[in-house]
């Protein structure tokens, strides 16, 4: 299960966006709802390689307890890793990437 109790303490690498409203739902961009959105992105795009439990999968490593900063996570998501991981820059914009990062931080 996802440790939802940890969401309240989650921060993102885009703190400047917190408190702003999304275009569609006018929902405030709190760390909590960023992570909720990020969770759905994770299952959509990451889980089939990194595992449904994020603990390693098809040919990608575990994302549990990542020891890198949120900014580094965002950079990897946006840029990819040559021959290892695709870039998601065309799929997830900055805010969506921040959501994914927020979710990954809950996995610590």
């Amino acid at each position: 299960m996802i440790p939802w109790d940890k969401l309240h303490g989650a921060t993102t690498h885009f703190p400047s966006q917190l408190g702003k409203e999304t275009e569609a739902g006018k929902t405030p961009l709190t760390a909590e709802n960023l992570a909720v959105r990020g969770r759905s992105f994770f299952f959509q795009s990451c889980a089939h390689c990194h595992g449904q439990d994020a603990d390693g999968g098809e040919d990608a490593p575990s994302l549990l307890k990542l020891q890198i900063s949120g900014a580094h996570m965002a950079l990897v998501i946006q840029s990819g890793i040559k021959d290892e991981m695709p870039s998601f820059a065309k799929k997830y914009n900055e805010e969506e990437t921040a959501s994914l990062v927020a979710y990954l931080k809950t996995l610590h």
């Binding site: 795009s45 870039s87 799929k91």
Partner: protein, 317 residues
């Protein structure tokens, strides 16, 4: 819809464990032939057993899947080589197939260079027409590359239909919105389109649905199924002959349920384990020599209606 074999219900001596073990390996592609409106399948490498049916068929086409161009892990460090070998097998069929169906995961990382490599490889194939549906590995860029190359004249996320010699083919996309648990999803818009697409067809029209993730619950625990597939299948139940072709699970499984035959194809890249045989569906690593030997070794046909399990073994070498 029933899911998978929980126990042996007949006296064929093959229990679920045995079935799963046997079906783990199969050919690199499947050739489909239509004779008198009936679809029959032959695993590539076994076509000598079915030469006459292929030769006299009204329509032959080959299903290939999961080429994962760009994959470079120990399970297969030469996915280009195994894909090329598949093309050689297609080229040496007794009759050139009219077209190929690629049921997704063309590439491993949606990289333009990987799509280019696939294009180049397919130029070696005598069959020039190829119809595609994307796998989840083809849309990391939100499907931009895939749609630009293969999505012309498609609707929504890339679904479409076409007719060939009286058979109605429908390419569906069930990887665009994968949910927690990994199950594929078709979505309301696509379901509405499908209902409309087949509505005016005569019930005697043979139907072929193809998509990446299986449209039947092969093993939901690993996401090997499609959440809203039953609705899609409800639109085609009135047809006398429906064939559902999928990839994703990198192994051959076949099930017949009423007038609907479900078939998953072996990938050309690397093997995945039999459902439930290990905790996670990780690529299976075998010795390089074994990998080649195992391709095309075993095909399994499970007919749910009469509980018969047929296992056919053949070697490539």
């Amino acid at each position: 819809m029933s899911d998978f074999i929980e126990s042996n219900t007949n006296n064929d001596g093959v229990d679920r464990r045995g079935f799963l073990k046997c079906m783990a390996w199969a050919g690199t592609g499947v050739i489909w032939s239509i004779n008198g409106g009936l679809l029959t399948s032959t695993v590539l490498g076994e076509e000598a057993n079915n030469r006459s049916a292929i030769g006299t068929a009204e329509l032959n086409f080959v299903q290939i899947s999961d080429s994962h161009i760009g994959f470079n892990k120990p399970a297969n460090t030469d996915v280009v080589g195994t894909f090329r070998e598949t093309i050689v097998r297609i080229n040496t069929l007794p009759k050139v197939p009219e077209f190929l169906l690629h049921t997704g995961d063309l590439t491993h990382l949606s990289d333009p260079a990987q799509f280019d490599a696939l294009d180049q490889l397919l130029k070696e194939c005598k069959t020039k027409d190829v119809f595609y549906v994307p796998g989840e590995h083809d849309i990391y860029d939100n499907g931009a590359q895939f749609r630009a190359r293969f999505g012309k004249n498609t609707a929504g996320a890339g679904w479409y239909s076409f007719d060939q010699k009286g058979v109605h083919f429908v390419g569906l996309v069930n990887v665009a919105n994968i949910q927690e648990g990994g199950l594929g999803t078709l979505g309301q818009e696509q379901l509405d389109w499908l209902e409309k697409d087949v509505k005016g067809l005569s019930a005697s029209t043979p139907i072929v649905l193809f998509a990446h993730i299986p449209l039947w619950a092969v093993y939901p625990k690993w996401g090997w199924g499609t959440d809203d597939a039953e609705r899609a299948l409800s639109f085609v139940k009135r047809f006398g002959s429906v064939t559902v072709l999928n990839g994703h699970i990198h192994q051959v499984m076949q099930k017949v349920e009423g007038n609907i035959t479900f078939h998953t194809a072996r990938g050309t890249a690397f093997p995945l384990p039999a459902p439930g045989s290990v905790p996670k569906p990780l690529p299976v690593v075998v010795e390089a020599t074994e990998l080649k030997k195992m391709l095309g070794l075993t095909s399994v046909n499970y007919t749910e209606t009469n509980h018969t399990l047929a296992v056919v073994d053949s070697t490539l070498g």
